[in-house]
Amino acid sequence: MILKILGVGICSVIINVIIKQYKPELAVLVNVCGGLLIFLIVVNSVTGVVNELVQMEDGAKLQIDIISPIMKVIGIGYITEFTAELAEDSGNKAISTKILLGGKIAICSLAIPLVKKLIATIFSII
């Protein structure tokens, strides 16, 4: 599986350089496709991990509202990272930092209830 990822990565880098001479705007699209293909290769093992987490959570009767924000944060983190690195690669650093800012705010808004619950449990212990 790792060899497939390496192959896709090398191919997309080489083609990106080739295309940059003729059509610089298409080079960005080649980058996008390379990143996408690598994610498509990895997604099977990610679904495996996610299913394990969900089953573990069902068994342990943990509250559902702890596991699902964590999964959401992971998803948001990945997507914003994907787009921000893309923006930075194609040269516009300002947009990439804005995207990262948006991602951070989204994650913060998701994490607030968890922090509140943590504080509540701490107070209940003291």
């Binding site: 192959g7 080649v30 996008v32 959401k72 998803g75 948001i76």
Partner: protein, 65 residues
Amino acid sequence: MEIDIIFKIAAIGILTAVISQILQHQGKSEIATLATLAGLVVTLVMVLNMISGLFDMIKSLFNLY
């Protein structure tokens, strides 16, 4: 849906470059710009479909609704 997408985009890029060069030498430079735009639009549509697929997959995977 594997690696051939990247080769397809590379082929489109090189093809549009060659076509616009030919058209420019024939003296029809405005058609050359149109040909370049057409190539770009085709590639963009293809890549956008893939990106929307990716985002849907992530949304369903991490149930980000």
